[in-house]
Symmetry: C2
């Protein structure tokens, strides 16, 4: 496939077209992804997530520059929330990171997500594959939101950075979002603001309270790796807490170094291999579900779920479980119940 060859050769326009093709989920996408796939698995994928107002975008920007300073190439995926009604994002982020624009070692893509939540995670994963195959060595995924989006990102990234900022009611946010369990690293951004130390303390306290941690000692979170966070004597990982001021680049090299340390930890502990297996399972199941459903729909008279069944279910004359049984059995939609 010509597009694939051009992408593998590093042609940016081919990569952009490939990503669009993947986002559209058209018929070409499958062949393209199948062709890409053997060339993937080299990039380290970093999720950056946190509440609005924490400065995630600036931090992603600064991290990208910190990686570029080491000569590493960086792909950036900015994920906007889906609208279930318009199928599109309200604001594009394409213009957001101008100072990286024009750099051949950086590729920025803002995704207008559509469809289901599962679809979001899946398509993001496929865009990661395209960037990976195109040779980008570090891939940063930024998601907006606190909550489900963070959980989602955790499954698509090797390393998840949770961004907090002073004065946003951090304890509540972090606890509610369950971020303790998905964070591999914490970045307390806007650390030049009042309350940054309070935020660091709140995170430390939560680490002490967290399940399966059993470890209260965390370094001062000064942005420099202390000897306590990171890999523990028992082989687990205690998420370091770093302070950053993204707009000035402060603390960002230290954050980058912690990400690299986490990547090395995943590798030597065998966790990266287990992650790849879990990812393969998720990916394969997603594809299978889609294909199975498509096959079932193709068997229906109009190529879609019959209106009379949907109307019977909507009108509560037929329950969806019985309706599913009938469709799976390939029987005619018989008498609705009651």
């Amino acid at each position: 496939m010509e597009l694939l060859d051009r992408l593998l050769a590093g042609e940016r326009r081919a990569l952009a077209r490939a990503i669009s093709c993947v986002e559209d989920q058209g018929p070409e996408a499958r062949a393209l992804l199948a062709g890409l796939y053997p060339h993937t698995g080299r990039a380290h994928v970093i999720g950056v997530t946190g509440a609005p107002g924490t400065g995630k975008s600036s931090l992603v920007n600064a991290l990208a520059r910190a990686y570029r300073a080491q000569g590493l190439t960086v792909g950036i995926i900015a994920v906007d929330p889906t609208s279930p009604f318009s199928g599109g994002a309200l604001l594009g982020d394409r213009v957001r990171m101008r100072d990286l624009a024009g750099d051949q070692g950086t590729f920025i893509r803002s995704m207008a997500t559509r469809g289901s939540l599962g679809g979001l995670a899946h398509t993001t994963g496929e865009v990661v594959l395209a960037l990976d195959a195109a040779g980008f060595e570090r891939i940063l995924i930024e998601t907006v939101g606190v909550g489900q989006a963070e959980v989602d990102i955790a499954s698509a990234a090797h390393t998840t950075v949770v961004v907090e900022a002073p004065g946003l009611g951090d304890e509540i946010q972090a606890i509610k979002a369950g971020v303790l369990e998905i964070a591999d690293l914490f970045a307390v951004n806007k650390a030049d603001r009042e309350g940054a130390d309070h935020t660091v303390m709140a995170l430390k306290m939560m680490q002490g309270l967290g399940p399966s941690m059993g470890h209260h000692g965390v370094s001062a979170g000064s942005g420099k790796p202390g000897h306590q966070p990171g890999e523990q004597p028992d082989g687990t990982w205690l998420p370091p807490i770093t302070k950053t001021v993204a707009i000035h680049g402060e603390g960002v090299p230290a954050l980058r170094d912690w990400i690299e340390e986490h990547a090395a930890y995943l590798e030597r502990s065998g966790l990266r291999g287990r992650w790849e297996l879990a990812r393969a399972r998720t990916e394969l199941e997603h594809i299978l579900r889609d294909r199975l459903m498509a096959t079932l729909l193709a068997r229906q008279p109009a190529g879609q779920l019959p209106d009379e069944i949907l109307e019977a279910v909507a009108g509560r004359r037929l329950d969806p479980y019985t309706a599913a049984e009938r469709l799976l059995a390939g029987r005619e939609p018989s008498e609705p119940v009651r």
Copy 2:
């Protein structure tokens, strides 16, 4: 089924057990839900969502009391974010709403969500069915989070209330989360705080800028319905902006009345019927996908996806699309590519 009969008779313990059964997704769940289903479709389902710190929980509490004051029964579902690793929420919300406890006309359930995002939406929808069948007339779903969770809730609720609060960087939050497109009503909570009018103005401005709105006039957002928001001459709905102080109950009756007005609008416009059809489709597709996948897995030698295929995919020796083809064709896992 005894449990079903007891639930339909209004026995609270039966309802609690039924919900646990639904959450566990055990073998009983399907039969139970099939039995419940014909008794559903009566409740009006209200999603309440917004960023941490906006006072959603207090507002849900106050709304429930405002409905109880009218003699309506209220079910409350509090959804915590999933942790992909523990399968549970960090904090239960079960103790949160003590002043409603002991009231036979209220039923509160906090959900420890597990599994996938799609799973969250699906299980929440099934718990709604149980509350609906048990006769609860209004069902309030509170979700934590900004972003995907809000989009999710929008598909499970007839009416979505987006909660904002002064001083949380509202414009950014609202725009990024795409809330304009999912909100049927806005509640500016903590309206006794400085900046409440600014928040109202920011929302009004966004309504003016929003797609498919074309309508800049919004009432003063004083908590009383003006003549401009709500149903428009062209039959569309302009989301009212109400101010509330949930902890004192201020503005909450007006918010409740707007919710009821929206419910009436959905009914008379035929949108409720279309919503029910869309919901039936979503529900049926979800069930079908699960059943099709279960059937495929049951055909595998060990009842699960073969390890050698997962390992080949994880090791990039086989792409997941080709792997899916082979599994669907029922062929042996043949030679990995390359």
